[in-house]
């Protein structure tokens, strides 16, 4: 492990912390523009976080230690996940410890903790949110795993670094399996990050909410951490998508000269992804909760088809 790699890792750790709310702000701003509103500006998530951090925390009477610990665990998990995805360069010392399966495991760990915390107070909305979140999760998690498996099978490795390097430096080939995987991944991204059409992040409309129902009892610093963790999760998913499907332009190991360019390119890609998400959300309507299993089942099926396509058509090559 070289010093430069360590520095890069630390740099990325700080970068994702700041970039995550920014991405969220950008998406909201784009959505506002698409809806003919002027919008609050891309820095609004930072202001919200700052406001929340300054408030007094209110805790329900029967909140247990688990409820208080969860925001920190959630935040640490998502921070780690976001810091692990190669964004600017592939020179990352932490990466060998966590491959794609372990990355999915970290997401699952965070999900289980927030669902447990939602059940902790024992309110009707909390448990409902937990149940729905687990419902979405148990179909989204294998779908995400299958998407990542397709990429892993192409590059013969489950290490994210190797996957990105293989896909970025290979001659441009259209993999049919990756096309299936891409569609499945977008569906998983929408569901996992509580976006329309599965969930609506901007509403407290009681009977349709999933994520918001779970975090209903959180306030102040706890809520700030949960919100920040959600932003980090969205960033992690966006960067995973970029790493899998449009990895070109990432800087190689020890290539310091390429870093500024790679960083600029990454921000550009993220901006496009954010605008695309905003467009997708504006164009679609939220679906009934009973339809969500079908939506997620489709994603899972597409992901499996992708992997199957790879095993049958591409593995001989």
């Amino acid at each position: 492990m070289s010093i430069s790699a360590l520095l890069h890792q630390l740099f990325q750790n700080v970068l994702v912390l700041l970039a995550a709310p920014l991405l969220l702000g950008w998406i909201n701003q784009c959505r506002a523009w698409l809806q003919n509103r002027s919008g609050p500006g891309v820095l609004q998530p930072f202001r919200t976080l700052l406001k929340l951090f300054h408030k007094d925390a209110v805790l329900a009477h029967n909140a247990s230690a688990l409820f208080r610990a969860t925001p920190y665990i959630l935040f640490a998990c998502m921070w780690l996940a976001a810091a692990l995805v190669p964004v600017i360069a592939t020179d990352m010392p932490l990466s060998p410890a966590v491959d794609v399966i372990a990355l999915v495991g970290i997401f699952a760990l965070a999900r289980v903790f927030i669902a447990l915390a939602a059940m902790d107070i024992g309110t009707s909305f909390g448990t409902m949110g937990a149940r729905r979140e687990m419902l979405v999760g148990f179909l989204a998690e294998p779908a995400l795993l299958m998407v990542l498996f397709t990429a892993s099978a192409i590059s013969h490795s489950t290490s994210l670094i190797t996957i990105v390097e293989t896909l970025a430096h290979k001659q441009f080939v259209l993999y049919p399996s990756m096309a299936f995987a891409a569609v499945a991944f977008i569906m998983v991204l929408l569901a996992e990050n509580a976006r329309i059409p599965v969930d609506n992040p901007t509403t407290h409309l009681e009977l349709t909410m999933i994520h918001e129902a779970m975090v209903l009892e959180y306030s102040a610093r706890h809520l700030a951490l949960v919100e920040w963790a959600s932003a980090l999760k969205l960033l992690a998913y966006a960067t995973i998508g970029i790493a899998l499907f449009v990895p070109w332009g990432i800087a190689g190991i020890g290539d310091w000269g390429a870093l500024p360019g790679a960083m600029l390119l990454m921000f550009l890609k993220l901006a496009i992804v954010g605008a695309g998400l905003a467009l997708l959300e504006t164009l679609s309507a939220k679906m009934r909760i009973f339809r969500v299993p079908e939506f997620m089942g489709t994603a899972f099926l597409l992901a499996v088809l992708g992997l199957l396509t790879h095993f049958l058509l591409e593995s001989g090559a």
Partner: protein, 668 residues
Amino acid sequence: MFEQFGILPVDIAMGVIVSWLLLGVSGLALKPSYITRYVFPVSAFGSLVLALAGLAGLTETSSAILPFGLPGLPFHLRMDALTSFFLLLLGSASVGISLFSAGYFRNMEKGALALLTLEYHVFMAAMALVFMADDAYLFMVAWESMALSSYFLVTTDHDKLEVRRAGFLYLLIAHVGAIAILMAFGVMQGGHGDYTFDTMRHAHLSPFWASVTFLLALFGFGAKAGVLPLHAWLPEAHPAAPSPVSAMMSGIMLKTAIYGMLRVTFDLLGTQLWWWGVLALTLGLITALFGVIFAAVQEDMKRLLAYSSIENIGLILVGFGLALIFHHFDKDTLAALALTATLYHAVNHAFMKGLLFLGTGSVLHATGERNLARLGGLIHKMPRLALLMLVGALATAGLPPLNGFVSEWLLLQAFLFSPGLPHDYISMLVPIAAAAVALTAALAGYVMVKFYGVIFLGQPRDEKLAQVHDAGIWERIGMTWMAIGCIALGVLPVFVILHLDHVTDMLVHQSLAPSAAKSGWLLLTPINAESASYGPLILLFCIVIGVLLTVSVVKRFYHGRLRRGAAWDCGYPAQTARMQDSAEGFGQPIRHIFTNFVEVVRKLPAPNDLHPHYHAETRDRLWELCYVPIRRLNEAISAQVGKLQHGRIHVYLLYSFLTLLALLAFVK
């Protein structure tokens, strides 16, 4: 480890077995307080010694011949790597269970406790002998002792009708399985009349007879393991048994079946055919999915865990099938990887499911309630138990950095690196199977959130829960042992794999050690560092650092004020504990999605009902499909045979006379 004293591991293991039996008998004479205070801790020490003997036996094979048994049929014992691994599993997991028992059985009355102590120790000794037997005769004796002693343990509360029924079902299926195993041994000895395993190893069976043996063994051992459709006894027997016994049965006894399958398929049978693997893989997948779906809709906490055990056995079987397929096609590195995943999951399951079953025992002791609908909020009254159970629940949900994740990771790796199998259909099966395994693992998370959330979180659903106390000291010590096992197996996989290596080396003649240990003990790299690596300790370290950093930064730059208030719940003031999701409600989406698997019988209230009551019961369709027809057939045959019975003596004399005539004609 013990060589310098001239003692072989097999001698030590025998010593432990004999002392267990003595301890069991001593229970008949001792006062109840002595039994719980001394017998169980001493037997836990015996378990520890057995585990050490197993550890020593991994590297050196030792054998012994005991002069017991029938004339000319002495008992053969042998401790090779496979045996030693399973003895290690038995020893290390039963340490925690026995320590827990020292606290759990303290309020039992004398007669029942004395009997239970005897049966408990005979059960453990029989399991150890199953692992050590080197001839079919001793194996069957030990197998039957295991089945009978566990039957008596299951029916400890035999004054309840449902317990007796569960025990009978268990005994029945165990014996149907035992017959199949006996026949498998019969085929394997190949007409030599010699039932030592050594003869069987050298008898070369034709593919047909080898397949017959495999199918018989799969059926027989599958009945013990709870493979579909022979799983029916598991969800009945586990809730009926006292919790330490459930832990022992689910954690360890189910593994005797896995041991049997491995022993017969990889050691005793010289050849393996690929379709055996496909069969095992398919059965395993169906079992795993079935188990986890049914676990999600259960309302009884021990039944839920029993179904979860079925799921885990399914996953183990998947690994076993995969290893068979790879081994047949000479992909021995992958076979070793799949086998490692299988064995790793077996030991993981012993610890995590043992922990959870023990925890349900403590909950049962404190509340007297197995029904999830009457539990809730126990984290406030039983915080230590809740913490230990959190470890168990997260491990069972297969989350990093705990142990359940490691074996699932290894299994998924085995799937991922399997392209290039010669048959297209098998290549097609692999991604579908991987998807099913991933789905099962994700559903396990759902099940565990339900299990933990409904029992420990939220508001108490019953008034009597206000008076409960935390688990006693012995119970906590036992569970702490299991929890430490879960964590250690989770964060130090490289050490575990180095030990498992002796077993894979013996069974598929390939070891993973050179590649697994190459990147140091922090990183697990089963094939090579480029294709896959996983460092649970680093991951845990990162998360802990992240948490500490966040806490300290938040505490430093923030005033840290905190108020307690009523729960918000969208401003709804009149909340009661009944407004939380019940276990039924939490399982509803699963019932809804998997309607075709699960048969739901609903009782809906009538519109003018003054006391409306909604009730939904889930049933197992296989019961109707498999067991009821067999029962009907059995009854029909019995009815026909019954016609021979008239109760008149002259008719019976006629039967005897005819039999005599027939025999005379035959002899002549």
